[in-house]
């Protein structure tokens, strides 16, 4: 029975790793959040809406968001050279795409919202974790949104579709399907799929990842409630 399968770390097929989310962890940033999931440690800061020093990026009729996903040199087993590489450039791009639909950027012409995602420690699934944390930081910055975007992945390990792959499962598994969604409408704002899946397996993975998103979404709300209740 799939639901009784024990995973390498003892989780059930549809079980998330332990998650901790905290809003408002930095002084200077307009909004910030800290997230731990499994061995991942992610810090996000949001600045804006503000004028940008890079004027050519601004647009007359709408606001612009810019996202920078960055891994600390010490966040992985073999030290990573500082600065952007191709992987982080791609993740920055699709993270901005994933968050943009929830923002009402047309209300902020000629301005920029900057989202800085720092992976302090990485253990599989940092792009989804970064999106989840970034949404919390955006709320913390007081930026109105249609919905709080949330990210989660499903994948295929030992021919089973399971939720929220750990680093080991990602490396040894057969497929990884990270998504982000707006929980109110169920619309999907990020979708990737790597590895071997039949059409049926893919459909199952999407359903499971969406279910995971809904669970993480509750934790986002709790973190924000806690933030506002302590203020």
């Amino acid at each position: 029975m799939m639901s009784e399968m024990i995973r390498e770390d003892g989780r059930k097929f549809d079980e998330l790793r332990p998650i901790k989310i905290e809003a408002g962890v930095l002084e200077r940033a307009d909004g910030s959040a800290y997230l731990e999931v499994g061995g991942n440690k992610i810090l996000v800061a949001v600045y804006g809406p503000r004028e940008s020093y890079i004027r050519r990026l601004l647009q007359p009729n709408t606001g612009v968001i810019r996202c920078r996903y960055n891994m600390a040199p010490f966040s992985v087993d073999d030290r990573k050279r500082p600065g952007p590489d191709r992987r982080s450039s791609e993740i920055s791009k699709i993270t901005a795409d994933a968050l943009r639909p929830a923002l009402m950027l047309e209300n902020y012409p000629r301005s920029m919202i900057d989202i800085y995602i720092e992976v302090i420690e990485a253990e599989g699934g940092t792009r989804c974790a970064g999106i989840t944390a970034a949404s919390v930081a955006l709320v913390d910055a007081g930026i109105p949104m249609k919905d709080i975007v949330v990210g989660c992945a499903a994948g295929k390990v030992n021919d089973e579709i399971v939720l929220d792959l750990s680093e080991v499962e990602d490396k040894e598994g057969q497929a990884d399907v990270p998504i982000a969604m707006m929980p109110r409408t169920g619309e999907i704002t990020l979708l990737q799929s790597d590895g071997d899946l039949t059409e049926e397996e893919f459909a199952k993975a999407i359903d499971l990842a969406m279910e995971g998103c809904r669970q993480v979404s509750e934790l986002q709300k709790e973190a924000l409630m806690k933030r506002y209740s302590t203020e």
Partner: protein
């Protein structure tokens, strides 16, 4: 950045609403595809693909190198993409743009995740010498849907690739001067790209269709109908049903594309 005239936007959107397109195609119909291989004599593998007006050239060059420490018995693939300023007035010379990086990585992941290149057969001496294949994508004319054109070109070039036979003599690698072997390939793959215009998903978009689209979905499918890579792009979300529709359509269309190889 391109601003699409409002009139173009309306015209394309209205056409698509009625299941029609600028160039007369149906919503799930590809433009003409032509593939030519061995177009570069100095490259060990090469192909030129035309997809409508879009044109790309791929050249593959091997180099002997060291394997990665965690895969000592596997060859290495490196995919690089140059969006040449020749191809589009909006492409700029200089380091690869984010679009160019995404294109290269999506095309690369298709090849990599489908595991169709038998990397273990590119090992010359475990832990010491493996073949590194440099797959260089040269975009020379951008009339829309670079993703599918590039993946076809890479696939065709890989199939045409011949490497010199390498042996170890006295602890050194010796390359045969005349003997070659075909790059071992055990599967085939194509990428099938959709954009969302209004409420419809449209396959193989032209440049203007790309510009007015609100979202994009790349679906990589292998010859045996398995999904090996996907990527959503664009400013707006997609519903689950839209995604499943695309996947289902792609499984059929990829079979057509693979026939060109």
């Amino acid at each position: 950045m391109d601003i699409v005239p409002e009139i173009t936007r309306q015209s394309i959107t209205n056409l698509v609403k009625n299941d029609k397109r600028e160039d007369g195609r149906g919503l799930t119909e590809y433009r003409d595809v032509s593939i030519e291989t061995n177009v570069i004599s100095k490259a060990e593998g090469s192909a030129r693909v035309k997809l409508g007006g879009t044109q790309v050239i791929v050249g593959i060059k091997p180099q002997l190198g060291s394997p990665f420490p965690d895969t000592p018995d596997l060859g290495v693939l490196m995919t690089n993409c140059e969006m040449l300023p020749m191809a589009d007035p909006n492409f700029e010379p200089g380091p690869p743009s984010d679009d160019s990086i995404e294109l290269a990585r999506v095309v690369d992941r298709g090849i990599r995740e489908s595991e169709l290149v038998e990397l273990d057969k590119l090992c010359v001496e475990e832990g010491k010498h493996v073949w590194m294949l440099f797959i260089d994508l040269h975009i020379i004319d951008n009339c829309g849907n670079l993703f599918d054109a590039c993946e076809l070109a890479v696939m065709a070039a890989l199939k045409s690739t011949k490497l010199p036979v390498a042996t170890i003599e006295d602890e050194e690698v010796v390359l045969s001067e005349d003997e070659t072997f075909d790059l071992p390939i055990n599967n085939e793959l194509a990428l099938c790209t959709f954009v969302k215009i209004g409420d419809k998903m449209v396959i193989d978009p032209t440049l203007d269709e790309e510009r007015v689209a609100s979202a994009r979905l790349n679906v990589g499918v292998t010859k045996d109908g398995h999904i090996c890579s996907m990527q959503k792009g664009g400013q707006e979300p997609l519903t689950k049903d839209e995604i499943l529709y695309c996947v289902n359509t792609a499984v059929t269309k990829v079979k057509e594309l693979i026939e060109y190889l």
